[in-house]
């Protein structure tokens, strides 16, 4: 243990509190938490909830970066609280606020409705089309076909990318990074035949064309999905399709 860590007995937290019906706006409240180098922000919040204030509200489940439910703004940057170690924020204080760009239900709990509705809209499931299923009822994929979409399938819907996206902040209609990356995931799946159903939405002005490639969605993504790259690729594909349909108007492919 470094000397800096041993001399720090506690670490300060500034946590956004909001109780609907009581508070007019979220306010930051100060807490002191025992410092443990192996603790993450989520551990500190659970300590506070157990030992100091049981009304502190936040979502969490797996504690290991898989469930995607503990996203929050940590010192102004969207992070999974289970992956944000206290030792990286010395000497503190650590400011914890609900994910930006979403309405606040209470304390650190945000309203997910907008995202859920957009997610459903792009049909994030395999659409088999009218092909008969394989005779042995098993779709085979080569490793290369899997590699074509695997990266996008790693998304855990944690919404950090939406919090990092200034376009989504100002254009509520924008489908947003994760939804567009997931649409790309199914577009590129060799088993799927639903492209044309999705493109009506994803290739529209509220889809990929609202994105100006700020790139912060990819910078904050804990699963290296790279939504910004997915959207850029979709722009290339949509553009090639546009020129194909103009230069070859007699039926597509």
């Amino acid at each position: 243990m470094t000397s800096g860590a041993t001399t720090t007995q506690t670490i300060g937290f500034e946590i956004a509190r909001y109780l609907p019906g009581e508070d007019r706006a979220p306010t930051l409240r100060h807490y002191d938490v025992p410092y443990r180098p192996e603790w993450v922000v989520l551990d500190a919040l659970n300590y506070l909830k157990d030992e100091v204030d049981g009304t502190l509200s936040f979502r969490w489940s797996c504690r290991m970066g898989v469930c995607g439910s503990c996203g929050a703004m940590v010192n102004g940057v969207p992070r999974l609280m289970c992956a944000a170690f206290l030792r990286d924020y010395l000497p503190g204080p650590i400011r914890v606020e609900p994910l930006a760009n979403f309405p606040i239900e209470r304390d650190l709990v945000i309203v997910l409705d907008d995202f859920m509705q957009k997610l459903r809209a792009v049909k994030p499931w395999i659409i088999p089309g009218d092909r008969p299923p394989p005779a042995d009822a098993e779709y085979r994929q080569t490793p290369a076909q899997l590699a074509d979409f695997k990266q996008y399938s790693m998304c855990i819907n944690c919404l950090l990318c939406y919090s990092a996206c200034p376009v989504y902040q100002h254009e509520e209609e924008f489908l947003g990074p994760a939804v567009l990356a997931l649409a790309q995931r199914y577009d590129h799946d060799s088993r799927d035949r639903g492209n044309s159903q999705r493109h009506e939405l994803t290739w529209s002005d509220e889809g990929i064309w609202d994105c100006t490639f700020v790139g912060e969605c990819s910078a904050v993504c804990p699963k290296h999905v790279d939504p910004a790259g997915a959207i850029q690729q979709a722009k290339v594909e949509s553009t090639m399709d546009w020129y194909r349909s103009v230069l070859w108007p007699f039926g597509r492919r």
């Binding site: 100002h170 009506e200 553009t239 546009w242």
Partner: protein, 110 residues
């Protein structure tokens, strides 16, 4: 399916982006530093710029550059807070790019 017109603008923007990324630093080096240092002779420059292909290349480069800039300016203005005026901003930006390209054609073939 309601098609967005963005592929047209985006592809021109991208073409301009590629060309500028490859040659803009060299061009600025040449015309901003080598020309004032008198390392570029008038006769040579004149011989190049009066070639028909060079005239066309100047107009093409100007077109791609101005459309590229118009596209970026349009989206940046929208992003930094003028979203409500997105339509008029796009129209004015691209029309300005076309007007500047017309001027470039006058210069190149002058």
């Amino acid at each position: 399916m309601r098609r967005s017109p963005e592929p047209v603008f985006w592809s021109l923007f991208s073409a301009g982006g590629v060309v500028l990324a490859l040659i803009a630093p060299a061009l600025i080096l040449a015309t901003g530093f080598l020309v004032p240092a008198e390392r570029v002779e008038f006769d040579r420059l004149s011989a190049i710029l009066t070639q028909p292909l060079a005239r066309i290349a100047v107009v093409g480069l100007a077109f791609l550059t101005f459309v590229h800039a118009a596209h970026r300016l349009r989206h940046t203005l929208v992003d930094v807070g003028l979203r409500a005026y997105g339509g008029p901003i796009a129209t004015v930006s691209y029309l300005a790019a076309l007007a500047l390209t017309a001027w470039a054609a006058l210069v190149a073939f002058g």
